[in-house]
Symmetry: C2
Subunit: 338 residues, 2 copies
Amino acid sequence: MMMSTGILRRSTVVAAVLIGLLASRALAAPAGDPLPSWSDGKTKLAILGFVTTATRRGAPGFVPPAERIATFDNDGTLWAEQPMYFQLAFALDRVKALAPQHPEWKDQEPYASLLKGDLAGALAGGDRAVLEIVMATHGGMTSEEFTKVVTDWVNTARHPKTGRLYTEMVYQPMRELLTYLRVNGFKTFIVSGGGIEFMRAWTERVYGIPPEQVVGSSIKTTYELRDGKPVLTRLPEMNFVDDKAGKPVAIQLHIGRRPVAAFGNSDGDLEMLQWTCLAPGPRFCLVVHHTDEAREWAYDRASSVGRLDKALDEAQTRGWTVVDMKRDWKVVFPFERK
Amino acid sequence: MMMSTGILRRSTVVAAVLIGLLASRALAAPAGDPLPSWSDGKTKLAILGFVTTATRRGAPGFVPPAERIATFDNDGTLWAEQPMYFQLAFALDRVKALAPQHPEWKDQEPYASLLKGDLAGALAGGDRAVLEIVMATHGGMTSEEFTKVVTDWVNTARHPKTGRLYTEMVYQPMRELLTYLRVNGFKTFIVSGGGIEFMRAWTERVYGIPPEQVVGSSIKTTYELRDGKPVLTRLPEMNFVDDKAGKPVAIQLHIGRRPVAAFGNSDGDLEMLQWTCLAPGPRFCLVVHHTDEAREWAYDRASSVGRLDKALDEAQTRGWTVVDMKRDWKVVFPFERK
């Protein structure tokens, strides 16, 4: 009941705002367009409508500045995630780099297959094999050492299909959206299944999101004085998996306030979208649907990486905004821009 | 080696700055004093010196804005903690309020003693009894329900000695310090052994610190849709204890950046102070020493609550700033002000 009323009221507000927008900056002044990589249409107008009313004091959709919390998934929402999560590509590269220090890996799965170039064989062990690889490559060093390893990797490693740095494979329209929200007083957070320290090594530079606004999966860490110097050591043991129902839990732990806007692209984001939008008051939820095989990838219900099935149905049922990447984005990656 | 050089260089910088300060606003213009509740003297000058150089671009002590992270303990550093942690007073009040729903408590320790008014008997079970009481009073409800219970309590419960609301028993000089740091581009965080959700219910109103900048101990939480409505349920099980070596671990998890300034008052803060100040670059660590029996309490090495022993020694050895509450604070609590 509450939801339908909310949706109806929001639609009315959005419609009213659109008239104003069409008459003013959105079309009349394209030079001042805050979202130049977004095609004109209902998706762009939904975003502009929400932000415009959220920031208009006295409007029914007004959101007080302190409550302007927006959470973004990362893989598949802010940067690409095919043919495998980029962090897994990092882990595989690390196995190769660390192999000389681990002669035993030659006879031990999943390392043996991996070092022979047989990725499918290495990953045949499923989640357990992936966890093994992640722990072996993400644990056993200090936080500072890990940040350096990640920084070196993002500065040099190239995506197999595009030949670009992984940090170039971020979505230009989403970067504009992050900036647009921040300019309008929103605090932008990443809430991702990816590793929290893995992301923090580059999110400030690439997205303008500082470390303290990055929430992700983590491994256990201990503190000690080593030769009189304080160090944090990363243990090869999971601490928290920030995916699915873990996302609202992590939002509460790290942010402590329910977001008013959330952005995702897969079933792993469904609970974050529910927690954000199934509540009274002005709310905005958006799902990025990967529909562009030519410029990016096209995948949804059957994909093993970034599966979008239940969340697509629920977005349609609840009236959340769905980005059709092919239709809604004039540009996907920054390097496409002329 | 690195530390001594750092301390020497900082002392020189501070001395140079003091001359400027003495000649300008600090003494010449008391109306513009950012720390009016602090007595003039070396403690106040150390704070002013650090902040002044941290914000002067080109100065040897300059700290880039993004790195201006300051972390504060809460109990005994921002508000009082005697005769018992205020959160324990909350838990004891909750036991009394919940007793009608728990007839079995009449015959079960630590509740039985507590309900008879025998606090010493109830706490005779040590940490285990306290944990039992905390779990029984902090778990088994939604996050929203818990926030409401805490809010009602801080709005009505009174301190046994002063008769004041607990949220009035905050340190006026520390509130001025929080504001002074924020005005100078520092992001202020609480990093406390207290419960993260317990604090968030009132820290924004009382300290100007928003929920997303509060780090504390936590209990496990689960997410579910209940009758179509998303809820976070607090389980009667510890998730993380944010004390001692847990503080740098939590700082890394929540903030992801090493603070440049840290403020504490007990041995539980020692590792946070080490993590903050045993590193190159401009650093500021401060320990509040409770020396004022008349206006507050006097306690340190032998206290069971807020014991300050090792951290006092280390502060002296390393040259950290120690607040002598009696000497350095003109006013302790806001309600003392004329």
